[in-house]
Amino acid sequence: MTSKLKQIKDWPWLVLSPVVIFVLIGIFAPWIMQYNPAAQNYDATLQGPSWQHWFGTDYLGRDIFSRIVGGARISLVAMAIVLVAALAIGVTIGSFAGYVGGRVELVLISVIDIALALPSLVIALALIGILGTGYWSMITALTLAWWANYARMSRAVVTAELQQPYIEAARVMGASHIWIFVRHILPHVLGLVVVYASADAGALVLAIATLSFLGLGVAPPTPEWGQMLVDGMSYIEEYPRLVILPGMALTLVVVSFNLLGEAFALQKVPRPVRGGLLRKRRRARAEEEQARQAAERKAASA
């Protein structure tokens, strides 16, 4: 049993597949959708699953399968924009603070700490209150609520790496600060932050759905999972699938992103060398040994 579990852990593709499916569905949504997800059809409201409507229809006769697929696209795009923006802001501010140090760092850390002290959804809600509701204000609000974590991590990595003697070695070689940062420090920062972001993506999808559920994010006719949950709520007793299907889509995406993050994190844990890598190393060592012996023989005969 445990060995099987371990085997599964060794196959990152298994963990990856729900994420890949989600991303593919998001990208190819317009071709997968059978119906316009916003199109209403009062002749076919609240129908059960059938060949025409795989997941049935909702109270306005909209095709639920198409709405879930369309929702995947909305979530994916919004999540990607927020993640990229939050990473860019967080890594820039955090790295700058860590690299420059001194007073600048102190001020920036205080800002980061204040941002972290407030729950990100609360910040997002407050910002939406200021900006008004809508897709872009949701994106802006989530970005501003999300960057601080990345900033703090980036700063920690930069501070730790700067202590390493190889940074001094690069300075002695005449490397500029930009060279050192881009070539030596940034890879370490991204290495950590991207792992965290991959697990964070699920939380972000959930946050987008939450805001839409509260009516603060994506506005109605656009298909969105949080929206669908609200719409289905009043029918939960007679037609539970209106809530269960988008809920399951949401759960699957969140869980699979979490697993993805975990798989990445496990990759970073040093594992015993075995299999192909070990054979490769043995071969390299044997070749080296042979080369050495040949050189010795040559030296001895000369």
Partner: protein, 327 residues
């Protein structure tokens, strides 16, 4: 053409502020002249400021006062106006070869980095140069795609020496390059240093606490005590008859391979620990532990004066034909 010395250190002071508001005087007024092409050793016990001195020479550490002049040019000004040409002149070899290389870069990338920073030719030219460097330090090209941590200690130090030589510097400053290596490897690296110096005409400054090694390879030597120069001179005569009582104690700790000498070797054991560099003793810094100290030592700072071995010693009792004997 009047030869300017490779390195001139003029009344150099490096102080570190401590939290208590005092300062640690790691280097406190050092004058040093290292001529071109010499193999200079800096010795002294732990905490005497030898590493700080080396780091200040290459600009890894800012001086509090005084000046370092490299090849006739002020180092601080040189680094400000043209860091790159400075780093082509002077290179540094670190004590810990593993830490001084990025753990993400393989050896090829590690050796290529200085060439890239200095815009050294095409990829083809860089590859040839890297091969040249490997030959120089006697490494096989199979190491190129390995990571630093998968190399042995000796290989790592060879790589870090190769990297320091990549830009063809004329001065190589080494901070205890041997202390991370075990004894058999140490001998190989020492031989590498001497052969490199002969082949490339380098000026090498080596910080070491292995006195036997210094005796074997260095042409000149400086003995430091508590941030000051205690004694300096040509290695052989200085090791034969050290004039400063501290050098005598230090050198008495070196075992000899000659059994006739080794069996009669007397160790001079100094009383107590070295005083704190944040509150150094008045007068001669060594007077609190010196077996031959007298009143003047606590009152007056001895200047570096001629010693019988032809070098200089900072001891009130040393003159050009007389030296204090500690036994």
């Amino acid at each position: 053409m009047s030869e300017k010395p490779a390195i001139e250190v003029k009344d150099l002071k490096v102080h570190f502020a401590t939290r208590a508001g005092t300062s640690v005087r790691a280097v406190d007024g050092i004058d040093l002249v290292i001529p071109n092409g010499s193999f200079h050793g800096i010795v002294g016990e732990s905490g005497c400021g030898k590493t700080t001195l080396a780091r200040t020479i290459v600009g890894l550490q800012k001086e509090t006062a005084g000046q370092v002049v490299i090849g006739g040019r002020d180092r601080a000004e040189w680094m400000k106006s043209d860091r790159k040409s400075f780093s082509r002149k002077v290179q540094f070899v670190f004590q810990d070869p593993l830490g001084s290389m990025s753990r993400r870069q393989n050896i090829y990338q590690t050796l290529e980095e200085p060439l890239l920073i200095h815009g050294f030719g095409s990829a083809e030219k860089r590859r040839n140069r890297i091969q040249e460097l490997l030959d120089l330090v006697a490494l096989s090209s199979t190491v190129l795609d390995r990571l630093p941590r998968s190399l042995s200690g000796g290989q790592r130090q060879r790589v870090s020496i190769a990297r320091a030589l990549a830009l063809n510097p004329s001065i190589l400053v080494c901070d205890e390059p041997l202390s991370a290596l075990d004894v058999s490897i140490r001998a190989q690296i020492v031989n590498l240093f001497t052969s490199l110096q002969k082949r490339l005409g380098l000026t090498i400054v080596i910080v070491a606490h292995d006195l036997a090694v210094v005796r074997e390879v260095c042409s000149d030597v400086t003995v430091m005590y508590l941030g000051r120069v205690a004694e300096e001179g040509i290695t052989r005569p200085l090791f034969r008859e050290p004039a400063h009582p501290y050098s005598q104690a230090l050198l008495s700790a070196v075992p000899s391979a000659n059994p006739l000498i080794e069996t009669t070797r007397k160790r001079i054991i100094l009383p107590g620990d070295p005083p704190s560099p944040s509150n150094p003793p008045s007068g001669c810094r060594f007077h609190t532990r010196c077996p031959v100290a007298f009143e003047k030592c606590g009152a007056e700072v001895p200047s570096l004066r001629e010693a019988p071995h032809g070098g200089k010693a900072a001891c009130h009792l040393a003159t050009s034909n007389k030296r204090p004997i500690v036994d």
